[in-house]
Symmetry: C2
Subunit: 307 residues, 2 copies
């Protein structure tokens, strides 16, 4: 399969690297020139849980040079999705599938605006990866990946992609409730990420504060109300307990949003709690806790990024 | 009048210093030994808006050594009020008045637990003062001070105190709605302080973010609901507009709560938004925005103070 990965950060490089190592024809596309140059000069180095290796894989900053591909995997941060989807169009034929494995809500709509909804497959992954430097990533976790057609059908194209992923060692299942899987992950992030970003606490430390546990609960309950109004079927019965469990299981982690804030980068708050607020507004569900978290994170972000 | 100021920080030192300079018999009491020693060795230095001067005034770390006084002015941070009131008891006779000029809610109850409610007068001040170092403060603002009996009557003792304050250049009025004055100040702090502390934004910068303006509005509206349920009569008709006005008028300021967080000190969140949440819970008013702000500030505080 000819594959372009748009957004070759830690996760995009991991997926692209593993697929290339399994024989797929992969190009990693990213704006970070040092990373692209390092991969082209010395290969992509993957260390960590799946063993140390150096993988030959094409990389470029220019999607115009790639030519038509069968699969575009979108792995940019959600605030860059609209632009990434537009930039990917020259690589797409009518048969090309756009697979979003990104965090958060709203990415499908942004890709659909550029490429049309019929070309999109959504995925959710619990793989873990960290950028170590140009051309080098650390494969930190081997969690499952699920992918699904938006109309919940099982198609030849999704089976083909699932097969390629599994063949590359990316354990992947095809879901007939991909929106439920996506929202389930979003709910966990909604409960954990902004509170870690605002406080500097590690995931597990959130649970030490009764006031914070209560706010996690309320943030997730608001998101549940929105999800239910939209007819989303969640993967677990008690999302609040699930959020506490994940915080406990990842106790020592600094959430991605906390890391973004600490490094003076934009966060994905708009695609998480911000999407809950916006969807809630559209359907008439009040979300005061999420509104407060979004406002505070945006203010903090503006100070830290100097924007 | 024989006066003890309990909590000789920037504000306590200002009031005590001005009263001593006007001929009152003042003792400044504080746990900060360097400050106490500097005042005893070289006098209290006041610079700023009311002119530069050095004032001879007694200072001690030990309230047990002061002897009976006519007036105890409580100026400690609100989380130290209970202890300060107990420590002040040896200085009190039946005639002694306890005047709290502190920020926030809950201080009256804590002083009443130790000294009895009949001895308490509440005050609110818009004077501004900054600690420059041991024995030295900067008088930054000359705003009005109001004091009032809790039963809204005009008494001889409150007139005596008001006269002494005005004589010392502290412009003071006697209010028959001191709780309204106190809550009016609290509402402004509720809207501004936690959002500055969480984000690092200056007061005026809050207004640049539409999401933050909206959360300021909701935080203040929740507090208004609680105030109305408690029968408090606010000083201004539109508290939300008032909060925006104050943020604008103090645009360049870093709020006291932001300063506390930056210096790794405990904040007064419990006496501000925390009191709104707690009172709301007692009377059945839901306060999700304030709950969220309290939880986030407490988490941040725990990281910054290392508690």
């Amino acid at each position: 399969m000819k594959i372009a990965v748009v957004g070759a950060g830690a996760m995009g490089s991991l997926f692209g690297g593993l697929l290339a190592d399994a024989g797929e024809d992969v190009t990693l596309i990213d704006v970070w020139k040092e990373h692209v140059d390092a991969i082209n000069a010395r290969g992509l180095r993957i260390k960590g849980i799946s063993g140390d290796r150096t993988i030959e894989v094409n990389s470029t900053t220019d999607p115009g040079k790639v030519g038509p591909v069968d699969l575009v995997i979108i792995f940019v941060k959600s605030y860059d999705t609209a632009e990434a989807a537009r930039d990917a169009l020259p690589m797409a034929s009518d048969e090309t599938v756009f697979l979003s494995l990104q965090n958060g809500l709203g990415n499908i709509d942004k890709i659909a605006d550029a490429a049309g909804k019929h070309r999109i497959i959504r995925g959710v992954t619990a793989q873990g990866s960290t950028m170590m430097g140009p051309g080098e990533i650390y494969h930190a976790g081997l969690g499952p990946t699920v992918i699904g057609e938006l109309d919940e059908t099982s198609t030849e194209r999704i089976k083909r992609i699932g097969k390629a992923f599994n063949h590359a060692g990316i354990h992947t299942e095809i879901s007939s409730n991909i929106m439920g899987a996506l929202w389930s992950k979003v709910l966990v992030n909604v409960g954990i990420n902004p509170l870690t970003a605002l406080t500097g606490l590690r995931n597990g430390e959130l649970l030490d504060h009764p006031e914070i546990r209560q706010v996690m609960k309320r943030a997730v309950e608001e998101a549940m109300m929105v999800a239910q109004s939209l007819g989303i079927e969640m993967e677990f019965d008690n999302p609040v307990e699930k959020v506490y469990e994940v915080a406990e299981a990842t106790a020592a982690n600094r959430s991605s949003m906390l890391q973004d804030v600490e490094r003076g980068r934009k966060t994905e708050i708009d695609a998480l709690n911000g999407a809950i607020v916006e969807l809630g507004r559209q359907i008439g569900v009040d979300t005061p806790v999420n509104e407060t978290l979004v406002a505070a994170v945006k203010g903090l972000e503006s100070v830290r990024t100097g924007a």
